[in-house]
Every structure is written in structure tokens, then in C-alpha cells.
Amino acid sequence: MIALPPSFDANLAIDIGLLLMLLAIAGAIVRTRSLLAAIILFSIYSLVSAVWLVVMDAADVAFTEAVVGAGVSTIVLLGAILLTRGEAEKPDWRRLIAPALVCMLVGGLLVYAAMGLPALGDAASPANAYVGRAYLQQTPNDIGIPNVVTAVLSSYRGFDTLGETTVIFAAGVGVALMLGFGPRASLAPPPASVGDQHVVLRVAAKLLIPLIALYALYVQFHGDLGAGGGFQAGVIMAAAIILHALVFGLRETMAAVPPKVARSVAALGVLLFAGVGVVCLMNGGGFLDYDYLFAPSVEKQIPGWLLGDPDHAHHWGQHFGILTIEFGVLLTVSAVMVTIFYGFAGRTVDVARDEARR
């Protein structure tokens, strides 16, 4: 490899560069008056912080930041901006004093708190020493999957994740109650001449949407082995559906994925997740204790050679439990995202109709 002078710390240089970029983007977001530009800048901010998280070796968090922060939240915000004006008013400077003081106070407190944080990679720090180390040591025996993040997320702390999934479901229900589940008027077919301009876009989208959906399934079922899992996969799946809506029109997408199906699937995902927990209960274990996912009579059917090394026996219950609840997470997350998008996009149709009437 290319030799560098020993005093040059490439990681530090990349960290500082990325943080300076974040600072510059944050400044630009504060300064800009165009809401559209602010949304795009937010998306760039998320992308840069995802890159920074990769540099910090937090692949799962970076993945989530990239798909949620830079991907789907940008689309939802773009949907929201269609309902409002494109420019923010310049506020009176006197009204900015109190928020600025609060911001400076909180920022100062955060900087003060950051000084008390242990050094990155410090083996004696609480995050690395007690629970974290226990998880790293116990996962091969308890769960038997390589990605400890997924093991913690969906098995050790499956109850927390069930709560998170329910929160997402509740958020989707809340947005749908405010904005509706979709357009209340029937959508007019698009004028025939519009499609001709976007032929490149449509061909590329036709090529990409199945690939994106396939990638979502890869992320879903690869979550045991590497970065990924139900949350990221769900957002990617939703992105495929929303891309379809953006390119082919809401009418076509609602024919393919009706709003009723979307909201039913959102409920079905939470039901699947909680149902796995109830099955474990019925087989004599704790709630979401996947070791009891299969009844003893079923477990006896698994041939011995599939269990492998008796010291590190293959945990079929854990494996299938994690896969199933992650699939429930995928269903809920993707369906909720699509429902929220339908809510915003449906209102956009109403706004356009009202303006046409006026």
C-alpha cells in the first residue's frame, strides 16, 4: 500500500472533514429560505452523517440513517411541501432571541457532556465493559447468529423492538387520521401527452423497481449475517412503491397496492410480531423467548445433523423467531410508510383540485 508519514492520521482527517461538512450543511439549512432547498439539504445532511457512521464502524445505524433520513423522510417532506408554500418567511429578529438562547444552552450542555464521554474504543467504558461485552460473549451460544446487533435488537430486546414497531404503527394511524388514507376524490386518468416526455424515467423505473424490491428482501433475510433487518428492508420496500407512485402516478400505484391493503398489512405486521411472542408463551417459554418457538414435539423432528456442533448447536427456534418478527417489522414499516405517503399525496390531489376550482 501507499506509505504515509506516521504522524498523518487518515481517520482523524476524514472525521474532521465529514464533521466540517455537516457543520456547513447545517449552516446552509438555517440560512436558506426556500423550503425545497432545506429538504434537499436535510437529505444531504443525513447522507453525510451515514458516511460518518460507516467511518465509525456503526454499519447498522448508518444503514438506517441512509434509508430513513436520506430516503423516505425526504420523500415524505417533499409530499408535505406540496401542501404548503415553498418559501419560509423571514422572521423578526426579536422573535429569534429566545430560541437562539435555548439552542446555545442545549449545545453548550451537550459539549460539556461530551467531555465526560469515554474515548472511542475504550475497553473500560461502560458500553464496552459490562452489558456490551456480555452480549458479544453470549450471542454465539444463546442465539447463534453472527450479527450481534440483530441478536440484541430482535431477541434479547425483542420486547423493545415490538414497542418500536407499535410506535411506528401508531404514527401511521395518527398521520392517516389527520390526512386521510388517500385521495377522497377519484383520481382522473393522466392526460396522454404527459407520459411521452418521461419515457426515459419510466423505462429506468421499470428496470429499477423490481431490483429495489429484491434488494429489500436481501436486506431482510441477510439481517442475521450482516448489517440490515426489518426496519431498513421495510423502508427500502416502501421506497420502491413510492418510486412507482412518483413515476407512474398515484392512480396506478393505488391499483397495485390499494390503501386498504397497505393499512391492513401495517396491522398484520404488528400482529405477526406479537403472535410469535404468544406462540412462545403457549409453548411454555416467556413472551418472545424464541427457544420455545417450536413445541417439543416439533423440535424432536429436527434431525440431529442439522443441529451441528453440540457446543454451538444451531438454534432453530431463535433463527426462525428472528426471521419471523423481522418480517413482521418489514410489513409494518413498509405499509406505514406507504400509508403516510398516500395520506400526503392524496391531500395534494385535493389541493390541486381546490385550486383548479378557484
Binding site: M1, I2, Q197, H198, V200, L201, A204, L207, L208
Partner: protein, 120 residues
């Protein structure tokens, strides 16, 4: 051999980064939407292709190479389409390309057209 390849790959990466910087300068300096899209898509396609090619050479033939090729194919499928869609949207919303003989704008003339808006 591997050392030579990594040097050549490093050269490609640096060339790609320079092309990206050129694209960024072009986005800031070019006069209208269409030339700016042109500059931005040079960053997306040319710059990224060179960086990916350089990384392929540095990594050697392995699974990483295959992943890089996938990344490249995906970028090649998406970014030209994005540039096309952007230009399409600019055209249908009525932005006219600036046409005329080339001349370096004087400072007072430049001040008349604030950044980010087009006279059209």
C-alpha cells in the same frame, strides 16, 4: 505487481476526485440550468466511474470487485436518468437555455442575475 496496481488505482481515484471537484466548480460557475446539470452529471458518472475503477484495481480480484461493479451499474442506471429528469423538469417549467456568443460576464452584469435564478 499488487503494489503497481494499487498505485494505478490510486491514480484513477485521484483523477475521479479531481473530475468531481471540476463538476462542483462547474455547478457553481456555469450560467444556466442546463450547463449546470451537465457539470453535475459529470461528477455523478465520470467522477464516480473513475473512483470505482480505481477502487477495483486497489482491491484486486475478489468479491469486493463484484460489489463495486454492482455499485457502478446502479450508478450508471440512476444518475443519467436523474439528470435527464432534472433537465426535463427544467424545460417543461419554462427555463430557456442561455444562447448567444461566448463572452465573459462583467462584474456588474453578473450582479444583475442573482445566483440560483435564471433570467428567462
Amino acid at each position: 505487481m499488487a503494489d503497481v496496481l494499487s498505485w494505478i488505482g490510486g491514480g484513477f481515484v485521484v483523477a475521479g476526485v479531481l473530475l468531481s471537484v471540476l463538476g462542483a466548480v462547474g455547478v457553481l460557475r456555469f450560467p444556466d440550468v442546463y450547463t449546470r446539470i451537465h457539470a453535475a452529471s459529470i461528477t455523478d458518472t465520470g467522477g464516480t466511474s473513475l473512483v470505482v475503477l480505481g477502487l477495483c484495481l486497489i482491491s484486486g480480484l475478489s468479491l469486493v470487485t463484484l460489489k463495486l461493479v454492482f455499485v457502478w451499474v446502479f450508478i450508471m442506471l440512476t444518475t443519467p436518468v436523474a439528470a435527464n429528469a432534472l433537465a426535463n423538469a427544467a424545460f417543461s417549467s419554462g427555463h430557456k437555455p442561455r444562447v448567444g456568443t461566448f463572452q465573459i460576464m462583467r462584474t456588474d452584469e453578473r450582479r444583475k442575475t442573482p445566483r440560483g435564478t435564471d433570467e428567462s
